[in-house]
């Protein structure tokens, strides 16, 4: 069921975001704002070594301090809890909240100290004496892949968590038949989403009720399940409070290790225990780094620039433990050819452990690095044939009439109009004038370049990559839910069943329910259930909530509407088909005098049981649990899978210049075209898109978790890990297109990752275009100033020498 498109009352209109009122007055409810009686505080002692055996821990001095309550070691915690979930079939890669026996990266949490205040806990942490015996270590991904590299988990035998080659289509045949081939390598640097709020959690065990209350800055599917499993508690003894506002996440706020740690301490000490990571804890030991990925690519294409086949090797350096990070190589399989008609693909996905901080899910779950590489391939083909880069994209695009379109890896794209949006953006940007401006800048002595990137945002996320990469895992259910109640006085409350980190889900639910019931969304109360009062949710990941929570809210509202219509029909004694719904009032089509108001129905449902249809439950509630559209199937034996259902599209054009003597890239113009189907709230979609670009600018130019050869993390603070400020994000022009999805109730697609999917690709393309006159290309991100400046200087020196010869 879906509604007629293009006739919306509230959907797509430029309405305010309900959540904003509490935030502008400082009345958000963040985890660090919550105080529990007699709450204690945790500080952690971290490993200074990339790899070391923990010889001994002496906490005598720390425990002597007044106000210090406990010093917890990894051994004690591991004995009392189960290891954290490991998505891959690698049982010997065990992960606990605190290091057990061996520390595996600089910053790994080794010991936790509990005290009356965080300051005191830090004082005591300094007094804990830990003796280490340093072990061999490896930090580079390609090194870690080698057999002779020291294994991070000796019991596992090597550093390889995943090495699987997929072949979809006749790759060798297509390569053999193609007149042109090229190859390149590039690397996506280790960065992350780095929310301004670190991860924080409070756990409070009530021994009399046998309930563990948890307040956390969390964005994670199956959080309560994982706590219960690790703590060996029944799941109905874990109550996660989901009305906690999360200060940004974009994927990474999955603090299961932090939560198990404080849950254990709370149970052990019988007091509420809180751990709010400080920035250093977060950066080095919060286990929230993002993909770090080496690509080696070969492309086969014809003389017209049509790409026939692609071989892509992707090696992700996931850090010291598996977690969910290897799966970030799996999700891109659902959009492995981007918006292009590439007939066959060979994809080798490799994940290795190393002595670096653990990775977590980052915005787009691995798709942005892959898009960066697909777009580089398109640029390379154009350069090889001396064709226009945009023209090569146009020639390879899937055309609007070809949807639904099945790609070689088994996923069907729902809808799209790629050339249509490109045309709009080209017209808006006046691409010819932009090229003229580039050439004018070049004539002035600047290096100047234009980058283009046309990228997909797979949305409506499920976990189809899990059974694909780990055949032992048969999970395909990936639902979200909404419950709506009309109370005895006729007001509406809708319940959602997950936390939010700024995506405006309350506004989403209110808008959708308001649309369906034809009532003012601002009059709808949105409640966030705790997990003992909860319906199934898989949380806001994979750009899914507009589709999934929006869909659940729509279907629940329609069930409610149907119930109210049925009550009215019964009360009026007419068939329900004869009635029409108008802003909550129900009228007979045949006789307009035959009607029941909203309040009449409320009265009947809540108070006048004798007027209710037989067998109907009293009250007015409805709920819906929604499964991902098109989802639910296991992969085929030949490794094909329907990954996400809906595909948003974005097209970036960026003009950049570089002062060749300095190397600092400057944005001259940035235009993005964006198509996420029907937009539910334009303000929210705009913000996410621009915010995604800002994040992409960071990943492309500024942000990196950099390590030295000794395995030390060099960028632990905001003085060294550089987030874009308002100065670094240019004014971005946006162009909109709406290509509805046939799979969703309003035609909506996801937009939670938009902007980030293509910005790094476009920026890298612009810089490589700028560097072309020098005959050099940059093959890694981030493109820091000194890296660019030194490369330019070297190229100039070389060409100067060549000229002299």
């Amino acid at each position: 069921m879906s509604v007629a498109k293009g006739k919306f009352r509230y959907i797509s209109s430029d309405r305010r975001v309900l959540e904003d009122r509490r935030f502008v007055v400082g009345k958000g409810n963040y985890v660090a704002d919550i105080v529990r009686p007699n709450m204690k505080h945790v500080a952690v002692v971290f490993s200074p070594h990339p790899a070391a055996r923990i010889v001994s821990v002496d906490s005598t001095e720390a425990l002597k301090m007044q106000g210090v309550h406990y010093v917890l070691t990894g051994e004690e915690l591991a004995a009392a809890t189960l290891p954290m979930p490991n998505g891959m079939p690698t049982p010997e890669v065990k992960r606990y909240p605190l290091a057990v026996g061996q520390a595996r990266y600089v910053g790994e949490w080794v010991v936790a100290v509990v005290a009356d205040s965080r300051a005191l806990a830090e004082d005591a942490a300094e007094k804990v004496r830990i003796e280490y015996e340093p072990l061999p270590f490896v930090v580079d991904g390609k090194e870690a892949f080698k057999k002779e590299s020291p294994p991070v988990h000796p019991a596992h035998g090597s550093n390889i968590l995943l090495d699987k080659t997929f072949v979809w289509g006749d790759v060798e045949g297509d390569f053999a038949a193609s007149p042109h081939k090229l190859a390149f390598s590039q690397k996506w640097g280790r960065s992350s989403t780095v929310p301004i709020e670190t991860f924080g959690v409070i756990a409070e065990w009530d021994a009399w009720r046998e309930v563990l209350d948890v307040w956390a800055s969390i964005q994670m599917p199956k959080y309560a399940d994982q706590i219960a499993t690790a703590m060996q508690l029944p799941m109905n003894a874990v109550r996660v409070h989901q009305d906690v506002d999360v200060g940004g996440s974009y994927g990474v706020k999955r603090g299961i290790k932090q939560t198990v740690l404080v849950s254990y301490l709370s149970k052990k000490l019988n007091v509420p225990v809180r751990l709010i990571e400080d920035r250093l804890d977060n950066m080095r030991g919060g286990d929230a780094h993002g993909p770090e990925r080496n690509f080696d690519v070969e492309i086969a294409f014809d003389s017209n620039g049509i790409i026939r086949s692609m071989k892509m090797d992707a090696l992700d350096n996931v850090g010291a433990y598996a977690g969910r990070s290897p799966f970030q190589l799996g999700k891109p399989i659902g959009a492995i050819v981007g918006p292009y008609k590439i007939k066959s693909v060979q994809y080798r996905a490799m994940a290795v452990t190393s002595n670096k901080t653990v990775q977590e899910a980052v915005r787009a779950f691995g798709q942005s690095p892959t898009n960066y590489t697909i777009e580089r391939a398109l640029d390379e083909v154009a350069w090889a044939l001396n064709l226009d880069r945009l023209e090569v994209r146009r020639r390879n695009f899937i055309q609007p009439h070809e949807f639904p379109y099945l790609i070689p890896s088994g996923t069907t794209y729902d809808s799209g109009n790629y050339p249509g949006l490109v045309d709009k953006v080209v017209k808006h940007a006046d691409l010819d004038a932009l090229y003229a401006e580039r050439d004018r800048l070049r004539a002035e002595g600047q290096l100047a370049g234009i980058g283009v990137a046309s990228c997909l945002e797979p949305s409506g996320g499920n976990s189809a990559f899990e059974p694909l990469l780990n055949r032992q895992n048969k999970t395909t259910t990936w639902m979200d839910s909404c419950r709506i109640a009309v109370d005895a006085l006729g007001t509406v409350t809708a319940t959602m069943h997950t936390t939010s980190a700024g995506q405006g889900h309350e506004t989403l639910v209110a808008t959708v329910v308001g649309e369906a019931l034809e009532i003012d969304p601002e009059k709808i109360r949105i409640s966030r259930a705790h997990t003992l009062d909860v319906m199934p949710s898989n949380s806001p990941v994979g750009s899914r909530m507009a589709i999934m929570l929006g869909g659940a809210a729509f279907h629940a509202a329609n069930k409610l509407k149907r119930k109210m219509m049925t009550i009215a029909a019964h009360d009026l004694g007419v068939p329900v088909e004869e009635l029409v719904w108008d802003e909550g009032n129900i009228t007979s089509k045949k006789n307009p005098d035959q009607k029941r108001s909203w309040n009449d129905i409320v009265l009947i449902a809540h108070r006048h049981y004798y007027r209710m249809p037989e067998d109907m439950e009293p009250g007015l509630t409805a709920q819906h649990v929604m499964q991902v559209p098109n989802g639910g199937q296991l992969p085929t034996d030949d490794d094909r899978i329907q990954m996400y259902p809906c595909f948003s599209f974005e097209f970036h054009i960026v003009l950049m210049s570089i002062d060749p003597d300095i190397g600092k890239p400057v944005f001259r113009r940035y235009v993005i075209g964006h198509d996420c189907g029907t937009v539910i709230n334009p303000k929210i979609v705009h913000g996410m898109t621009i915010g995604g670009i800002a994040h992409g600018i960071g990943a492309a130019l500024l942000e990196e978790f950099a390590y030295d050869d000794e395995g030390q993390l060099l960028t632990q603070s905001f003085m060294d890990y550089l987030l874009p400020s308002a100065h670094e994000v240019p004014k971005i022009e946006t162009v909109h297109q709406v290509t509805p999805s046939p799979l969703t109730v309003f035609g909506q697609k996801g937009s939670g990752e938009s902007g980030y999917l293509g910005a790094p690709a476009a920026i890298s393309g612009a810089i490589n275009d700028a560097l072309r006159p020098l005959g050099i290309k940059m093959n890694s991100l981030p493109l820091k100033i000194t890296k660019l400046g030194d490369a330019i200087a070297e190229a100039r020196a070389k060409s100067g020498k060549e000229m002299k010869q």
Partner: protein, 292 residues
Amino acid sequence: MKPAAFDYIRAESAAHASSLLLEDENGRIIAGGQTLVPMLAMRLARPSRLIDVARIQELSYIRDESERISIGATTRQVLVEKSALIHEKLPLLHKAIEWVGHPPTRARGTVGGSLANSDPAAEIALVAATLGATLRYVDETGENSVEAEDYFIGPMITALPQSACLVGADFPKWNDRFVGTGFEEVNARSSDFAFVSAASQVGFDESGKCTRAVLGIGGLGDFPFRVDVDAVKDRIGDEAALREAIAAAIEDVEPLSDLHATAEYRRRVAITLASRSILNAVREARELAHAN
């Protein structure tokens, strides 16, 4: 990220601050705290006592003293930024100050704090080195002073005696007919410390002849330093000559190398920024001459 415990005392005067330092060598002066507090938070600094000089009113001033502009040590950077006197009489500092942090840090940060802290890439320190400021301090022997060229001696290290409290800096005023200034800096984000920076001031006489020129370079070596460009005074608008002179002058400097910029980068870009800052200063002076 909480500092280790310390005692706190508000000093009533510079002499009081100095006497407190004398009685406890692990004491440390705090003014704006914009650099010190992060170091405390990360426990990279662990003073026994913080001696707060920020409220010593008589140390907050910007004065025109015929030959020099005198700035009190606790003068907030924002006051320098908004000072018409600085804009008119000390245009190089006016240009540099907007590169210092961003508005909230300039609201608390002080001129003396920046000079006492002596980061190799700090802008106020660079201006002091370039113009040859005199730094005044009080210690147990009374009020003393030290010239900028003797004051900056290492990264975060100054010639200030252990018990000294900086009280002010005097920047020489140029009374040349036309004065031009140039300030250039490269950083990753506009509020960050410079990878490398350069400051210049040139004087021209009525006939359009360059009477004097000074250049300072920051972020390159262990501390900001002045480069002698007097030899190229007569070819001050000649970029090639400037670059050659600057390259020669910094040949013996061992550039810093870190995560943000390689040594090669710093050396190469220092030459570029230095010559650009002079050329900009020259252009500005000539424009002033034209306007007259």
